[in-house]
């Protein structure tokens, strides 16, 4: 039997049901590993609460009332509000904030029997691609990690904004974590830390109790070790929440694991297409083709001295070749407007953030400046003290693009191109069942390397933004390591509500490869 902390969600759930071990034993093991807060992954831990939940799970297992994931631990990104743990959203403005209620996603996972390990570090209000924007310190990537008590060694970033979630799963501090994805915040850290993560169709998981960043983009999803685990977690997290989230889809929840075992055979993807033909994987030529100029700039091969871009491309091409050998058909598709996702996304998300974050005024909750002359001054000082630089930048951009005289040129134009991007995907899906490509142009970079250059961080989001803008389900699966030993992730994008098929496609790959099982050295 594997070590408890090295088991997947599926293995833990099965072992707990069979009473091979107890929920308290499992929780105790993970709490011990979390001691000293490795990688600065956690922002709040209450072992008494966790152990009490585990004890309750053991009671339920004993009396036969266990939920499907009874006793399996999970940690939550600090974007989800929780009654029993503090919620900061990675911001000083919410220091010591305690929510009077649990987010729907949190309560659904509790109902499924999951035990909460704590709250996970993230970029402030989920704004960032490196987890360096957390007010509570950066998170380090467990891959190529060098313990350095003096903090003089530059380790790698875990990606962001769900950096704590990805690092915790990769370092086996938790078997699973929740994440949120606005423009790639589940997929990119999952890729950078060598784990599996899925963002479902916008509206599948309730946004109730998720601290709002960009409401038309924010979506919750699971991050774990395999597609199989993600399917179990997604089934427990999703479902209509019609009275509490106006954008919750009125679609019955699904068992997202139902297609995992289908179809089997020598060439398991040969009959996985909707029409019973081979699964058709669309590869956008702008991302990987000969004319790709978006990130793999063929005109500037020396653009990057370490050559990691080319390595990412190679890993993706190898994975695609593997898919072809499993019976899938590779089809070239086009996403002509995808390059515009960067300006479109950063205008839309900034506009929505500037509105959403107006609630932080020092009146109803959170930080309030100590000294001020009047109400306006109180607002200004409170917000200036409470928000970090990236949050302020986005609020400023949002205020600008929504202001009189600029609204049409920026915000409205961005919304129009957003539709063009969504329509590009529908044209592509006429030719294929899923779309595959890189998650990020590079592997994880080192702490501080892009910290002073917000635009460089924005540009690194090029491959994750299009599916976010369209609201499509999408995931990241590990497809190997770079020469430096840093994980590379492949992105899979499905059409609306096709999560089960997406997970099947990922699972097929993971059944015959071991990339998702790789563990960072020293873990």
């Amino acid at each position: 039997m594997a070590d408890l902390h090295d088991m997947t969600v599926a293995e833990l759930a099965a072992g707990l049901k069979k009473k091979d071990f107890s929920a308290v034993e499992v929780a105790t093991r993970f709490l011990a590993r979390m001691g000293g807060n490795p990688h600065n992954a956690f922002l709040d831990i209450h072992s008494e609460t966790t152990l009490a939940q585990a004890q309750a799970s053991d009671d339920k297992i004993a009396n036969g009332t266990a939920g499907p994931l009874e006793g399996v631990p999970i940690a939550h990104k600090d974007i989800f509000v929780t009654k029993d743990f503090a919620t900061t959203a990675g911001s000083k403005i919410l220091k010591d904030y305690r929510s009077p209620f649990d987010a729907t996603v949190v309560s659904k996972l509790r109902e499924a029997g999951m035990v909460t390990l704590g709250k996970l570090n993230c970029d402030e209000f989920a704004m960032g691609s490196a987890n360096e924007n957390s007010a509570y310190g950066a998170v380090t990537n467990p891959w190529n990690f060098i313990a350095d008590p003096k903090g003089q060694i530059k380790n790698y970033i875990p990606g962001g904004s769900s950096g704590g979630s990805a690092a915790a799963v990769a370092a086996r501090l938790a078997p699973a974590a929740t994440g949120t994805d606005t423009g790639g915040s589940i997929r990119q850290p999952a890729a950078f830390c060598g784990i599996t993560g899925i963002k479902p169709t916008y509206g599948r998981a309730s946004r109730y109790g998720m601290v709002a960043f960009a409401s038309s983009l924010d979506q919750a999803g699971p991050m774990a070790r395999s597609a199989e685990d993600c399917a179990l977690l997604l089934s427990a997290m999703c479902g209509p929440d019609l009275d509490r989230d106006s954008t919750s889809l009125n679609v019955p929840n699904e068992d997202f694991s139902r297609l995992l075992a289908m179809p089997a055979g020598d060439k398991p993807l040969a009959t996985a297409g909707k029409d019973g033909g081979p699964l058709r994987i669309g590869v956008p030529h702008e991302w990987l083709g000969g004319g790709s100029q978006m990130a793999f700039d063929s005109n500037a091969p020396a653009r990057r001295s370490d050559g990691t871009d080319i390595e990412v491309q190679r890993r993706i091409e190898e994975a695609l070749a593997h898919y072809a050998s499993l019976g899938a058909e590779l089809v070239e598709v086009s996403l002509p407007q995808a390059e515009l996702s960067i300006p479109v996304y950063y205008i839309v998300c900034a506009a929505e953030a500037s509105s959403n974050l107006s609630r932080f005024d020092g009146v109803k909750f959170g930080h309030r400046a100590k000294e001020f002359s009047d109400l306006a001054d109180m607002y200004q000082r409170t917000r200036s003290e409470g928000f970090g630089d990236e949050v302020k930048r986005r609020i400023m951009i949002g205020s600008y693009v929504l202001s009189h005289g600029y609204y049409d040129a920026y915000y409205l134009q961005a919304q129009k191109i957003r539709r063009m991007i969504a329509e590009d995907f529908q044209k592509a899906f006429a030719q294929c069942n899923v779309i595959a490509g890189p998650v990020a142009p590079t592997t994880a970079w080192k702490l501080g390397d892009k910290a002073d250059d917000p635009v460089a961080n924005y540009l690194a989001d090029i491959f994750t933004l299009p599916a976010s803008l369209a609201g499509l389900p999408c995931m990241s699966i590990p497809v190997g390591l770079s020469d430096m030993g840093m994980p590379v992730g492949m992105q899979l994008i499905g059409n609306y509500l096709q999560e089960a098929q997406l997970l099947n496609v990922a699972h097929r790959f993971q059944q015959v490869t071991a990339f998702h099982d790789a563990t960072p050295e020293g873990v």
Binding site: S216, N299, R419
Partner: protein, 172 residues
């Protein structure tokens, strides 16, 4: 920031913003001539090497000024010390450089998409009957659904007295 991309981007911006105040007019005229509503699109689809236009002058179409920063800070209820304001100005102008490529796209017949749920409409062939699937934005009935939790809700407030939120004096 990789130098290569930075230069590429800068040239790209310049290409559509033919220097000078009437750049936009010139751009429109050239689009009409070419009957090419989206120069960016054609560049990507053809997969051709981007032309390298003269890139001598750094030209910012809509460069923000420190006055704009003050005004936006006021609208955003934020304050910036002079060094921070200056840094922010440079960063925002850097961002709006990449925004410029967006302005060259012809969207005259495109309906703005505020929301993904909106994009799911009419995709019956691909994903089933979207209306039956409830893919419309909805409002709930205007009825009380939450119990009164004033105490719990005010627990994290910075200043409360007798169940009321305290704010600085607003009316003299």
């Amino acid at each position: 920031m990789q130098r290569g991309r930075m230069l590429h981007r800068q040239c790209f911006v310049d290409r559509w913003l033919i220097s000078g105040a009437n750049g936009r007019e010139k751009r429109r005229a050239s689009q009409r001539r070419d009957n090419n509503p989206s120069p960016l699109k054609s560049r990507i689809v053809q997969g051709a090497a981007p032309r390298k236009p003269p890139c001598k002058d750094r030209f910012f179409h809509m460069s923000l000024t420190s006055h704009d920063i003050d005004r936006l800070a006021q609208l955003s209820r934020l304050q910036f010390e002079p060094p921070a304001a200056e840094r922010l100005l440079g960063q925002l102008n850097g961002f709006f450089e990449i925004v410029e490529q967006m302005r060259a796209v012809d969207t005259s017949v495109v309906v703005p998409m505020a929301h993904p749920v909106d994009a799911m409409h009419g995709l019956t062939a691909a994903i089933g009957d979207t209306d039956a699937l409830g893919m419309t934005l909805r409002l709930r009935d205007d009825v009380v659904s939450e119990p009164n939790q004033r105490e719990a809700n005010q627990r994290s407030a910075p200043a409360v007295e007798r169940g009321l939120f305290l704010v600085p004096k607003v009316i003299e």
